[in-house]
Symmetry: C2
Subunit: 202 residues, 2 copies
């Protein structure tokens, strides 16, 4: 079992080593328990070990504690960071807005909305959650700053409000299907163009 | 107990009749069970009756079934509809955006985010949920249409996208405290002005 600590970083293959399968089982068990409604408080290493069919020691050999395991498990839901091309601010924003609330794992739709209010009650959990979304948020902030610098966006831009205007509608739609009228493959384009142009008559 | 069916419509007073207290207890039990993580599926008239300390017949004398009781209980979380003054489109939008995600009951922060994904899996529950938010959404749609008619908003306004741009950021902030940088009493003003003016340089 000495290869346990690095196995999760190895490329996947149908014949991957037994230890990597244990890592997978542990992350899967964590996500399954959360998707079934477990709170972070109620989620214990014991419960995860039992669900994954491994011993607690197997988990502690790979992760220092519950928060580190949670961070890995929740990152797994999101997939890799998007990579803006850097040519057009509009196109980069469409790419980043399209990635908002997009999860490669269907359990995310159950886990994320329920998790966030809970996360906001605990400073530790809030930091954990910020660790997951901060890199994505920073990508968008940089695109907006570039737009201001290059004169494509208003010089007096309220960056934080602009981020909320771009991400809020997409997240509501992806997580909550808030406006059924808006289920549309072009939604990221419509949101970005709406935020760019504003709604006031000129 | 024959006054049971109309008691919930009577004005509240410290000396309200016993039957009204039973109605209160039933609605409170429903909200408590949801706030504790009960799914709509798992929420039964039996469970509500047990929690409220009443018989099932007491519930059925007041509500035809679980969905009608749920509708009353969830409406209770929201409070009364806002009432736009109709003078300035901007001011009306600030009022309506300020009411988005505002609940008079703190249990809403736990109930609403977790409920909506579930609601979206069942057409019956989706209708129930639309019954709760449709009147609020319609208020905003009418303000936007008035703005277009009076020439304050663009003639080619995409009304549904505009509604998403106005409500999405506020709802994310209220429900999920999405952008900690935006905790601010002026947030409705900042959102409305951002959506009115857009972010593109001119």
């Amino acid at each position: 079992m000495s290869d346990m600590t690095s196995a999760a970083d190895a490329p996947r293959s149908p014949g991957r080593p037994r230890s990597s399968r244990a890592d997978e089982a542990i992350v899967e068990a964590t996500l399954d328990l959360l998707a079934e409604g477990s709170t972070i408080e109620a989620l214990t290493i014991e419960a995860i070990a039992a669900r994954a069919g491994v011993g607690k020691a197997t988990i502690y050999r790979r992760w220092p504690g519950k928060d580190a395991l949670l961070l890995d498990a929740l990152r797994r839901l999101k997939g890799v960071l998007p990579n803006p091309a850097g040519h057009s601010v509009r196109d980069d924003l469409v790419l980043l807005v399209g990635a908002v609330g997009h999860n490669i794992d269907p359990r995310a739709a159950k886990i994320m909305p329920c998790l966030v209010p809970e996360v906001n009650r605990s400073p530790d959990h809030f930091r954990l959650y910020q660790n997951i979304i901060a890199p994505r948020r920073q990508l968008m902030r940089e695109v907006l700053r570039r737009g201001v610098r290059l004169g494509e966006l208003r010089a007096d831009l309220d960056i934080e409000v602009a981020m909320a205007l771009l991400t809020g509608p997409m997240l509501m739609q992806r997580m909550l299907r808030w406006h059924p009228e808006l289920d549309d493959v072009l939604l990221p384009d419509r949101i970005v163009d709406g935020v760019l142009d504003g709604i006031r008559a000129r």
